[in-house]
């Protein structure tokens, strides 16, 4: 059981990605992460939420931050977060955009997991160690 758990659910629309980013940044800052780490969390959440944005704005994106001991873990869940591109698939501009976003998340957090249930519904998880 996590010591602290924060969650937010927003519409899967571009206008709400900033809200999710501020939410994640606040959790990271409150946990005592450095400003560089807070920036990384905000960037990863922005990329993850952007992957879940739908043009029609239908559906939701959930952001959960959990602190457990010296680990701060985030999970972003969306009905429209597709799996990473397979090499044998032809990229559309949209899938390529998401793919770049996933690469950014993995660069920031090499242990990040992008998990899919079927073609669309998915979740993105990453964790940050809390110093001190």
């Amino acid at each position: 059981m996590a010591e602290e758990r924060f969650s937010l659910r927003v519409p899967a629309a571009a206008a709400y990605v900033g809200t999710a980013r501020i939410f994640g940044g606040a959790i990271a800052r409150q946990a005592g992460l450095s400003e560089d780490d807070v920036d990384d969390v905000k960037l990863a959440i922005s990329e993850a939420c952007a992957a879940g944005v739908r043009e029609d704005g239908d559906g939701t994106i959930g952001v959960v931050g959990e602190r457990d001991g010296a680990i701060l873990a985030f999970e972003i869940v969306g009905e429209d977060i597709p799996p990473p591109l397979s090499d044998d698939l032809v990229a559309t501009p949209e899938s390529f955009r998401r793919s770049v976003g996933y690469d950014v998340i993995r660069s920031l957090f090499p242990d990040a997991a992008i998990l899919s249930e079927g073609d669309r519904s998915g979740r993105i998880r990453f964790a940050v160690p809390i110093d001190g």
Partner: protein, 96 residues
């Protein structure tokens, strides 16, 4: 020159792309994008800059960036775009 302020993400990036296209299509073949007022940018913002770069290169033009913000430089570095765009630390340097 295009001065950008605030945060550039999936919501605001289309506006950046639109402004760049406007400037380039108006005949400007040397565009400087001043990102000094940008505190946050993700890969969707970079996508707009890349779209501008492609468009201006079709006209044999140049697009340069002014940026000293840590978070923006970081995403440019992660994606390797710091090697694609000329990145300057001041408007004077970009225009000079």
């Amino acid at each position: 020159m295009l001065e950008v302020n605030g945060e550039v993400d999936i919501y605001t990036a289309p506006k950046l792309r639109e402004k760049l296209v406007e400037l380039i299509d108006a005949g400007n073949d040397r565009v400087v994008v001043d990102l000094e007022g940008v505190g946050f940018m993700d890969s969707t913002g970079l996508g707009s800059l890349v779209a501008g770069l492609k468009r201006i290169r079709e006209k044999d033009g140049e697009l340069a960036i002014v940026c000293t913000s840590g978070p923006v430089l970081k995403v440019l570095g992660i994606t390797g775009l710091d090697r694609v765009f000329p990145v300057h630390d001041s408007v004077g340097s970009a225009l000079g």
